[in-house]
């Protein structure tokens, strides 16, 4: 295979994949999509980078250690359930508001979107943990966990 083609395609497609994954995550509350599938698609972007440029490059593009990414996501998802508890309603009850955005009848934002963001990070982190871990090869023995 000509690496030039692979490099070019990866360089072009990885941002597109990331963008689409974000769109999927954001629209997902009311229509098909969501944090889970968004996170998976984001992981494919980094997997593509890994295939084209190698494991270290993909890891560098991710910037954060995948375990920490998943942990942060879990915290965000759990936190999204807390505001409703403060109001005395059950954990994870949705709280919605409309942001006044000119030209529309208001932008709907709420805690379920925060939850979706958390799931997005959990799935991205976990998937990258697997993908980078499996690509590590046989030179290392002990799994690297928790940074």
């Amino acid at each position: 295979m000509n690496p030039v083609v692979m490099h070019t395609v990866a360089r072009l497609m990885a941002p597109v994949l990331l963008l689409v994954s974000l769109v999927l995550a954001v629209r997902g509350h009311d229509i098909p999509g969501g944090g889970f599938v968004g996170g998976l698609m984001a992981a494919t972007a980094f997997a593509l980078l890994m295939v084209a440029f190698g494991r270290p490059a993909a890891r560098k593009q991710l910037r954060v250690h995948p375990t920490r990414l998943a942990a942060a996501g879990l915290l965000v998802a759990l936190f999204s359930g807390v505001p409703s508890m403060m109001e005395g309603r059950p954990f994870l009850s949705g709280i919605w508001a409309r942001l006044p955005v000119p030209g529309t009848d208001g932008l709907k934002v709420g805690t379920p979107q925060l939850f979706d963001l958390g799931i997005y990070l959990v799935v991205l982190g976990t998937a990258m943990c697997f993908i980078l871990g499996m690509a590590r090869g046989e030179d290392t023995t002990a799994p690297e966990m928790g940074g």
């Binding site: 359930g81 409703s84 059950p90 954990f91 994870l92 009850s93 949705g94 799994p143 928790g146």
Partner: protein, 501 residues
């Protein structure tokens, strides 16, 4: 705090602390203290939950406010609340023991977050009011346990975890099949809703078949005969703290799930299930203790005792009377503490002698007097010698069997108790009493004292056993109230479904 917050807090605390632990720098102390604090909080939440349930009856909440039976339901009756409290106490014990025994490099890794995830999964399994969520929480717990077992990646551990994982996953497949079949037949998986719909389905044979799937799946998780092979194959390989955690919590979830499902949902063919459970319980008791008698590795021996004690619990469930369920709950609590104490002491012993092999030990009675005392009390308690907690728990089981005129179970329980005493005395004789083997270099070992941190958790467990023995009355009272709730599903259904008929 509102009951609805109390019900969701155990899982939020554990999973949140696990995630926060992974975000802290990779050092021993922040992760250790975070885990310790979380376990203290969990025990406090468990205690508050127990008080609330005792005072105001069964509590339930709907996650996200989606009404049952469509949403995710969390329920706490007395049994669940009691078990969450015990889980918190055991978590605290194991974490403080880990802090005293594990190398700092291990503490700095993913160890504490994994323990927290496991404990969170166990709490979720105790509190969920929905069979599919029960499956999910069991998977959360098992996932963490797979990693904990293989964390040091030594050869014997990897071998053990392959056996453990493949057998556990087989159980999970059976459980998932059972859940799917039940959903297909009843159209709901909410336990309270099932308690209402299953009796009116008009397909009792199908329900009996489905209930057998559940029986097999949960019996495998509980380590009952003939599905216990994964347990002695794996429990002796991880560090003592991990073995303690596993023995205290994992198999108990299986027993809890059996008790929940067969008191709440599958009550239509109780003759068959009760016979099966009795046979299974009796055989589990006997095979477990016979396996233990043959062992010379301290932790393998204790692992086989887990199985034999599980037999008592399953037999008590099979008797299915109020006194038997009371005995089951009291025995469960006693046995979590007794078994944990023994595993913790086995870890401390191995620290002194650097081995788990009974042949290589000896004379600890003289060199480690405190350790010997801390082994002696839980060993007698496990065997059912008065005045410790085991005596009352075992007596309650035997009395329940006698009252149900089931002479075979009563006789088996007595004989197995004697064999348990015999094998405990074997450890006593080999490790503590006999002269040390001659080929060993005589190195003067400093006697462990309470200041060493290893013995603190052992001491706490032993104290619980004495307290539960001398003050057995309140525990039995609580267990009786919990058994009453198990036998009368109406309150459970009302708490979850509210005014809905």
């Amino acid at each position: 705090m509102t009951p609805s917050a109390l019900l969701s807090l155990p899982m939020i605390l554990c999973l949140g602390a696990a995630a926060a632990g992974l975000l802290t720098p990779s050092r021993a102390w922040p992760r250790r203290w975070l885990a310790l604090m979380t376990m203290v909080a969990l025990a406090a939440v468990g205690a508050m939950l127990l008080v609330t349930v005792r005072r105001e009856g069964i509590q339930s909440m709907q996650v996200g406010g989606w009404a049952a039976p469509f949403g995710i339901t969390l329920v706490a009756d007395l049994l669940s609340a009691l078990l969450v409290l015990v889980t918190g106490v055991m978590g605290l014990t194991v974490v403080s023991y880990s802090a005293a025994t594990l190398p700092a490099s291990k503490e700095a890794g993913a160890y504490y977050p994994l323990v927290l995830v496991l404990v969170g999964g166990v709490c979720g399994a105790f509190l969920t009011g929905d069979l599919f969520n029960l499956f999910v929480w069991i998977e959360v717990m098992l996932g963490a346990s797979f990693v904990l077992l293989a964390l040091e990646a030594r050869q014997e551990q990897l071998e053990a975890s392959i056996k453990y994982m493949s057998l556990s996953l087989m159980g999970s497949v059976v459980l998932l099949c059972a859940v799917g079949l039940l959903y297909g037949a009843a159209g709901t998986l909410n336990l309270a809703d099932l308690a209402v719909t299953v009796p009116g389905l008009g397909t009792p044979n199908l329900m009996t078949a489905v209930s057998m799937f559940f029986l097999v799946a949960f019996a495998l998780k509980a380590g009952a005969f003939p599905l216990f092979f994964w347990l002695p194959a794996s429990y002796h390989t991880p560090p003592a703290a991990v073995t303690t955690l596993f023995s205290a919590l994992l198999t108990k979830v299986g027993v809890y799930a059996l008790a929940r499902v067969f008191t709440l949902v599958f009550t239509q063919d109780s003759q068959l299930t009760s016979t099966l459970l009795l046979v299974m319980g009796g055989l589990t008791m006997v095979t477990g203790v016979l396996g233990a008698v043959a062992q010379y590795d301290m932790r393998r021996l204790l692992s086989f005792h887990i199985i034999s004690q599980i037999g008592y619990l399953i037999a008590a469930l099979g008797l299915f009377t109020r006194s038997a369920l009371t005995a089951l709950i009291a025995f469960l609590i006693h046995y979590i503490f007794a078994k944990s104490a023994l595993f913790l002491v086995s870890g401390a012993t191995a620290r002194v002698t650097r081995t788990y092999d009974l042949h290589q030990m000896g004379n600890l009675y003289r060199t480690q007097p405190l350790l010997a005392a801390l082994f002696f009390i839980p060993a007698l308690s496990l065997a059912g010698v008065p005045p410790f907690s085991g005596f009352f728990a075992k007596l309650a089981v035997i009395q329940a069997a006698l009252r149900a005129e089931n002479w075979i179970i009563a006789g088996t329980a007595v004989v197995v108790g004697l064999l348990t005493l015999f094998s405990m005395m074997k450890i006593w004789r080999e490790a503590f009493w006999k002269a040390p083997p001659e080929n060993q270099p005589e190195e003067p070992t400093r006697p462990l004292s309470l200041g060493d941190g290893v013995l603190g958790p052992c001491m706490a467990m032993t104290l619980f056993m004495v307290v539960l023995g001398l003050g057995a009355e309140p525990l039995l009272e609580l267990a009786d109230a919990a058994a009453g709730q198990l036998l009368d599903p109406e309150e459970y259904v009302r708490a979850v479904l509210g005014g809905r008929p």
